[in-house]
Subunit: 425 residues, 2 copies
């Protein structure tokens, strides 16, 4: 692996070497049994612990550059790797190692009347490219998930974390070699040259899937430039709908949790819908608690009649993912209006109904076209960890292939294995 | 539905109306129970039978235009609909109606330690657009598969079959209305204006999936222009590998079947690989039978030493899908070379090994990165009908979402349904 902060000499040749190397390695990794893949992950975890100070030193270089270039505190904190964060990284790799093996599972199998056996078997995708931003722990996480699912991978992190990623990549490569595997199973891009990404995204003959992880700008750029299939992880415009059959205490607890517990993440609520029949009773008190937490409310015409000093929401507000202490509030005339509002303005990420009515819950779950439909719980719970998927490679806002939180088994495909005894047509 | 052979007045507005109408209809169709969807399909089958002469008359108009424009006999035959073909169309719709309902299936479900219930449930995709070429029976097939899987659809057939498709669309719409459903659940594009397709392929806010069915040119155009996910159905460069542990009779029967039974289709074999240890014994006799059937052989350097009058294959031959009575033949030194050849030159469609060795069969199946890996049977058997999937919407050469033959259940996605009892984070 070439590690060079400066542009490499012949970038197109370098990219093709990366991609071709990954494809060749993918055939090797795909044929390893699960124990070999698990052992390799445990070796990586041990390597990360053993080289903790080397990784921290490389990270210090990135931190120095970042401070010199005047990067803000939030980004600096995301970039920082110390002994305790490196230990957490190693633990995350071990956790993936301990998950059930997704590969080889028979998804369905049957024997046709003429004796032909048709099996649909889960197999690795092949080569996965992950393109991400500042946080260097993604390097270890993504490598672990790809190896667990039998794939080779190419990882391209942010330029801010270049030295940290290179050091982690060195540890992973050495650990793979010690486990008797090819280094090319996990390749970290060895240059910060921005011209690399468009070239990488055209290697559809070698790469099977691109997963961009980062802000909307990064994802849009990847989607526009890629000839390789992309699974998109756009953020979420999530709703909580308080149905007329919801007790007040539940409404208050879940609305506050969904909006306030961590407003900057994709599964935080952005719009709260209240049934008209309970709005007068519920809304003033919940609005006061939101206000006490510093949360601004933008309301529909009926809401601003109920609440003092609330700004009227514009059409644009219903579409907006604030990712901040702002919430839109709308009073609706029942379930159908709530469902229609969510399907029109939502982003299909996570939407919740709070109700004691089984029929209303069922109609909501069937009618709302979202990856995660929640009944009587907070939108904040749509998460691979909460769902028990183990580490997640992201939360897909696509409908094809994988939807919602994606774990190792979402980095797989299937093949038909057909066994005959001389069958012809 | 506007039916106009001439361009419609405001094409962008027309396309948006189509797509928006389909999206609205999709919410209705998604909430129908399986019996309602099955009944609608049976009503369509009855409608096709009842209006057989109307459809045949519309088809006669298409046939007249086609003959006047000097279209070849093969295309004319594909275009033709008579009473017996319309009856077959109705039967195909009834067959889809009789398949198990893919919707609502619980793909997995578990309860977390804190009591939160996580269910992964199969749901319709939403809106599917199918873009296809001459054969008008695709109109009924695609409508049936989309409705069966709870989707609304937009169907855009070839201009040669415009009147046939419009007549079939009229019957489908009337049958849907008689079943109490919205006509917009199945919309046939009502203009032959070529400018429509690029506009349709940009309606990603309303359409969830595009399935192009036709030649490579059509598929490439759709992939290049679409902002909606596309499942590709490229053709196949399929291999039969005759392993050293294969009895002669089996090799002969399956090689001849795979190459000759229907050379113009995607699962016909294009290259035959022979193990060196059996080549001298097997090849001359199989080559003679291929020759007797009019099939040209292009051989590797070792093959042309064994066979008289055989042209040497070029590098390009190994990549070529002849779809004709031509076959490439290569002698290989065992399993690993066969697997490497297939992964390098093949198209990942369908590849077969003929062997009595369990170990060789297993290594082949694991090592070859193809949608369909066949053991001791003909490549011609990779087919939705043979696999028991019922009617197929196509054979996917993609790895994401659906791979290999695609049935109604491949037109679905899933959602997480999470049920709590006041759970927050």
């Amino acid at each position: 692996m070439v590690v060079a902060e400066q542009p490499v000499d012949d970038l197109p040749a370098y990219v093709e070497r990366l991609a071709f190397g990954a494809r060749q390695a993918s055939y090797v990794v795909a044929r390893l049994n699960g124990q070999r893949r698990t052992d390799a992950l445990r070796a990586i975890a041990a390597g990360l612990r053993g080289e903790s100070s080397t990784i921290a030193a490389a990270n210090e270089r990135d931190m120095r550059h970042a401070r010199e270039s005047g990067i803000g505190d939030a980004l600096l904190d995301r970039l920082r790797l110390d002994a305790s964060r490196i230990e957490k990284m190693a633990e995350a790799v071990e956790e993936v190692a301990g998950q059930p093996d997704p590969i080889g599972e028979t998804l369905s199998a049957h024997v046709r009347p003429d004796g032909l056996r048709i099996e649909k078997r889960r197999v690795p995708l092949g080569v996965v490219a992950v393109i991400y931003e500042a946080r260097p722990n993604v390097t270890a996480d993504a490598a672990a998930l790809c190896l667990k699912s039998g794939n080779a991978c190419i990882l391209r992190g942010g330029r801010e974390s270049f030295h940290s990623n290179a050091a982690i990549g060195q540890v992973i490569g050495d650990s793979l070699e010690r486990s008797g595997l090819v280094r090319e199973a996990v390749q970290i891009v060895g240059t910060t040259d921005r011209a690399l990404v468009p070239l990488l995204l055209k290697q559809n003959q070698y790469i099977d899937l691109v997963v961009p992880r980062g802000g909307e700008g990064l994802i849009r750029t990847v989607v526009e430039q890629s000839t390789i299939p992309v699974i998109k992880h756009y953020a979420g415009n999530c709703h909580v709908y308080v149905h007329e059959k919801c007790p007040y205490d539940r409404a208050e607890a879940i609305v506050l949790n969904a909006k306030l517990q961590r407003p900057a993440v994709c599964n935080a609520a952005e719009t709260i819908l209240f049934d008209a029949s309970i709005a007068e009773r519920f809304l003033p008190s919940i609005a006061r608690k939101l206000g006490e937490a510093g949360c601004e409310i933008r309301g529909c015409a009926r809401t601003i009649k109920l609440l003092d000093g609330v700004k009227q929401a514009t059409e644009q507000d219903w579409y907006t993912e604030y990712l901040d202490l702002v919430v839109a509030v709308k009073i609706v005339d029942g379930l159908d209006e709530a469902i229609a509002h969510i399907n029109k303005y939502g982003s299909g990420h996570t939407d919740a109904i709070l109700t004691d009515s089984v029929a209303a819950a069922q109609r909501f779950v069937e009618g709302v076209d979202s990856a995660n439909t929640m009944v009587n719980c907070s939108t904040r719970l749509s998460d691979g960890g909460v769902y028990g998927l183990g580490a997640e490679i992201g939360i897909s806002t696509d409908k094809l292939h994988a939807r919602g939180p994606m774990g190792a088994s979402d980095l797989t495909t299937y093949k038909y294995v057909v066994t005959g005894d001389g069958h012809t047509r």
